[in-house]
Symmetry: C2
Subunit: 327 residues, 2 copies
């Protein structure tokens, strides 16, 4: 099959979605092990990570087809982390469906999650021998970063205050590293030089941070109809998001009101109260500025690669799409 | 460093133990993530899997030194499975120490377990480029077999009867595959042909099955002073061990008594009653015969390799040691 270079963003995500839908995880004997894996993969979502991996392989080597197995692998890794995170957070639903541990049970979620991690590693390894080692190293190292980020995030729950540097470190690890690795692995498959592959890692990392801060913003200021989960969940959980951490750091005369609001029981009144404080403090524009700053850094990383202007365009569009999204 | 060929068994296990002791898992920032990993690795035990990996590398290539990182990796994988199994089984102690989830908490056990799996994969990949792919494939495939075996074992808990074939399938997957992979990876590192490496997989698999059936035997008929855990735990949990599955399949006139004993509440009387039924049925010798049969198969696999008689000797000694052990 021949793929034309520079497909539209939606073509890459459709390609990822189709490969994921065609995954054969059926098993006569071990259905109880592999069904939850298939269920975890069918969660839908933006398929951002495999899309980024495919488009990077195409930008450097006109070869998204060679990248399809690793693209599925990177999404499988992502879904593995969601599956285990949901157990740790005791979340009963995700994207409107019961989570694996609530549909089956916790032991199934642990074991089928482990299975997903190994299956993901196998998919990632579906590359030419010449790049197996750098691809595998990139994948394993990002995995450790993700666990470190999740560990920090868990530790934050028991802290009343988190400083901004720690928050930034956490999202770098928990969200940035996987997007960085997606872009880097795509670049390696596309035949990019190691220098270009590192620049693409930087791109993915900065994109990931813009993406996460936008996600934090949408959880409070998004549109309930399109966001896909109830607005204000982070506020109700006193979750250390960019909004909260930044607001605490710069609260000034709003400090007492914010502290009092955090102590309120979860509910619509709490969400309204905290949202109003954020608005008074101008947090929406502070947040948007932060997203724009990371987007600029992402763009700067792309400009340092050897990619032509024409080939950079798809990445610029991806940034635009992610920071102007409603879900 | 130069290693002489055909070291004593105890030299290989000491080599593994020392490499594990020297693992640097300290982390200033992520101590909460990596300390439980270090704790999980310090559990001691026989270090059977890395010992087998090292001795196979030495038998084929006089190079246990080249195999040391993968040997640590295979033990780390094993300890990762124990860590997650302990969460699933809600076991509070292992080898006389609190388990990770009881010393820390369940979320820590899940996340640090995931970390161990990725760290294990990294260690396994510390081989020459030329054999990276077969070594990685062998490792990942055995991992899937282990999860399948654990899934079966969990399913057995909800079944009143398990047939012997299913039990054999379960231990093949849960115990055999990892020992098979340990031997095969050692052989690949030692430069063995693919044929010889496959024979070594067969050896490890058969050794693992002999080992597991012996383990089941010792849980009932072992010596409490040397076995390291209370005798009769399997009986108290109605665990589907070789003894129980085989006894149910061949109970004849003892069927009613066995069924009644299984319904007794856990305690010394139950252990005594079931043990007596096993003795009446001659289960100790039936069990020993089964161990001997798998040991013979292991020996037969070794004889099919190109190894000299002299080099086979260490493997024969390993079999002898494992089936005549008290712990």
């Amino acid at each position: 099959m021949n793929y034309a270079f520079m497909k539209r963003l939606s073509d890459y995500s459709a390609m990822a979605e189709s490969a994921i839908r065609n995954l054969d995880l059926s098993s006569d004997k071990f259905d109880a092990l592999y069904s939850p894996v298939a269920y975890g993969m069918q969660a839908g979502g933006k398929r951002l990570r495999p899309t980024l991996l495919l488009m990077t392989a195409d930008a450097f080597g006109n070869c998204p087809d060679k990248a399809i197995d690793p693209a599925v692998g990177i999404e499988m890794f992502h879904n593995f982390t969601l599956l285990h995170d949901d157990v740790m957070d005791k979340s009963d639903t995700r994207r409107g469906r019961p989570t694996v541990h609530s549909k089956w049970d916790e032991n199934t979620a642990i074991l089928s999650g482990d299975t997903m991690l190994t299956l993901a590693t196998k998919k990632i390894a579906e590359v030419e021998d010449a790049i197996l080692r750098p691809v595998l190293d990139t994948f394993n190292d990002q995995a450790l970063r993700v666990y470190e980020g999740q560990r920090l995030d868990m530790d934050f729950e028991n802290m009343t205050e988190v400083d901004l540097d720690s928050y930034i470190e956490m999202i770098k690890l928990k969200t940035g590293a996987l997007l960085g690795a997606s872009a880097k692995i795509g670049a390696l498959i596309g035949g990019a030089s190691l220098e270009d592959a590192e620049k693409m890692y930087e791109f993915g990392m900065m994109l990931g941070m813009a993406f996460q801060i936008e996600d934090d913003y949408l959880d409070t200021f998004g549109n309930a109809d399109t966001f896909g989960k109830p607005i204000g969940g982070d506020i109700n959980n006193n979750k250390k998001t960019f909004l909260l951490v930044k607001a605490i750091a710069t609260a000034g005369s709003n400090a007492e009101a914010l502290k009092a609001a955090m102590k309120m029981p979860a509910g619509a009144t709490k969400v309204k109260t905290v949202t109003r404080i954020y608005e008074t403090m101008g947090m929406p524009s502070v947040s948007k500025a932060e997203v724009a700053a990371y987007s600029s850094k992402a763009l700067a990383a792309i400009k340092k690669t050897s990619l032509s202007d024409e080939r950079r365009e798809a990445f610029r569009k991806l940034i635009d799409k992610l920071i102007n999204r409603s879900k």
